[in-house]
Amino acid sequence: MSTTLQSDISDATSSNAALRRFLHGLPGVDQVGAEARAASLGSRSIKTTAKQWALDLAIRMVDLTTLEGMDTPGKVRALCNKAMRPDPADPTCPHTAAVCVYGDLVSVAKDTVAGSDVHVAAVATAFPSGRAARTVRVADTAEAVAAGADEIDMVIDRGAFLAGRYLDVYDDIMAVRQACGPAHLKVIFETGELQTYDNVRRASWLAMMAGAHFIKTSTGKIQPAATLPVTMVMVEAVRDFRAATGRQVGVKPAGGIKTSKDAIKYLVMVNEVAGPDWLDPDWFRFGASSLLNDLLMQRTKMTTGRYSGPDYFTLD
């Protein structure tokens, strides 16, 4: 399967018609069945040692995010401090994977996290709508990388995707990937706008073929954002893509994951659908803000046996 698929992939990107044939030739997703499978994975009972393990992993996978028009250097510095030391009362608490900010605040973030292992991710390409000329979107990316971003979270042009101009989307991603240089590229689909699981599976393959390091559900600006079944369809895609090409791609659900219980459901799903290889911050991330404090609250409960009030956890 793997060698024929490799050549299939290069053939598939030779024209828009070929790309359409390839993407529409992927097996369909039955909505009812996919949602039932996700729900059943969500009913696993994760307790005691397994829960402790999962909570620490989830904290390590958080891309702590602020993407507001009112973001300031002060706000971003506070966020970075939180990412480096999520629980000041407990030095054994791991740091988050990254902070995620707008491109103009990358240098502030970079200065603040200097010396730590926390990465700086920047949203780019006319986030969140992606409605700008390719030159503008590429320049947006290049500026964020020049300012020191370790990771770029780009959005695809959903209009082009839904109009069937798959090759335009593919070329966009290739161009942005090139502008990324050494930075890792996450490709956001805005699954709430693509709407069908078939579209999500096609977008996943399209982005992976164009060189994405990560595929990401949402901007957080559109509802619904990440859901368990939509993320599962993407996790199935990265699993199948690795089986076909040998290249591993990460997955990042973002938006709407607010509780530890939800986060653990995602980890169970990743574990059982793609396998333990993806249970690592290099291959799975949560795009979130309020999730972190719930993870910390549950973590403290597991270590002390008591629930503390929200005032015992920092608001940044």
Binding site: P27, V29, G33, S43, I46, K51, W53, L279
Partner: protein, 476 residues
Amino acid sequence: MSTTFDYAPAPESRSIVHIRPSYGLFIGGEFVDGRGQGFKTINPANEDVLAEISEATEADVDAAVTAARKAFRSWSRISGAERGKYLFRIARIIAERSRELAVLESIDNGKPIKESRDVDVPTVAAHFFYYAGWADKLEHAGFGPDPRPLGVAGQVIPWNFPLLMLAWKIAPALATGNTVVLKPAETTPLTALLFAEICQQADLPPGVVNIVTGAGDTGRALVTHADVDKVAFTGSTEVGKAIARAVAGTHKKVTLELGGKAANIVFDDAPIDQAVEGIVNGIFFNQGHVCCAGSRLLVQESIADEVLGRLKARMATLRVGDPLDKNTDVGAINSAEQLAKITELSGVGEAEGAERWSPACELPAKGFWFAPTIFTGVSQAHRIAREEIFGPVLSVLTFRTPKEAVEKANNTPFGLSAGIWTEKGSRILWTASRLRAGVVWSNTFNRFDPTSPFGGYKESGYGREGGRHGLEGYLQ
């Protein structure tokens, strides 16, 4: 920090269940001692004895039928609305005591708690709610202006879904104004006996529901009793045939729900990930102890390797073990006898040249266990493609064209269920209209709903249970 996500044990507490050391028969609204030898029911997951169960003799069965006959005089005359009230009350108590019923079912049967909790018990309550609604609307059910009940129903049920089969039998019988004597399977009597307590709690008039426990002799005494007007049986085709012979020439009306060897047909345009889930759910749900299990996978040859690769990867994630652990997917085989049968037929499969595969899984030392198993390279001539194994064993066959798929699917003495997997709507309709099976699922499998009729073609039995159709078997 360990590198793998090891789920810690998550056992459901069994403290909610109070199993008595011994149980009598439930006759005329009271528990009475049986006159037979008595027998033990055990937990198939660890072989612990759970309780002593009375064995009903012919005389006990006669007492139960007499109690049911006496109760029939008034139960058949009260208004449908009044009967509906009792059924709604029973349904509500089942929902309220659902955790207790689920835990007890898993202990006595060996099925995973997630299935008894999420499938069996909710469907039981739904079945009573559904037929409660029919009780005062029978004249609108399409069976004439004034449909009359039959009288006393003798009902014999299997061990694979003890409480659900009880609900399928008792709910329509009571809604239509019949009274019942029900015999649960000898390996799984406990939830039926707890149901007897629920009848008491619901103030159901004495004798409307009678539960007699025992094995084959008790069942024979019940179905051959001269004052039984209706026989309803779910179980093996062999016993079903014996029952059909025994009641031939009598006034008794019969419904039989027997074995199956269902084809689960996967076309090359199927939603593959969901089809794999459907294959797993079709054969490993309830350890494959399902009469409508999708035990024959018919996969289009062009995608067979891909489907099998994905199926094996998926099977490797199945969690086999303690039925009371909330993360268990496959529980214990119900009895030593059934385990021996599955083991024997699997041995035949290997001897006949089919290729056997199971994922690596550690089985508990005590109790009755069988790893999820698939056989590839199976053809129609193999015994494992023809005989019902009634365990977690899948036979994989291939086909080339839709016509061949239908021919192979129908080429069996059974005809209880079938599954079709394709994204193409017209192919679903084309295939379904040619399959000789009572239930055809498309892009899903093993879904049950009280509003949907269920029953078989050919040696899978006759009569329908569930839905409006399920009323017919209990009306004159």
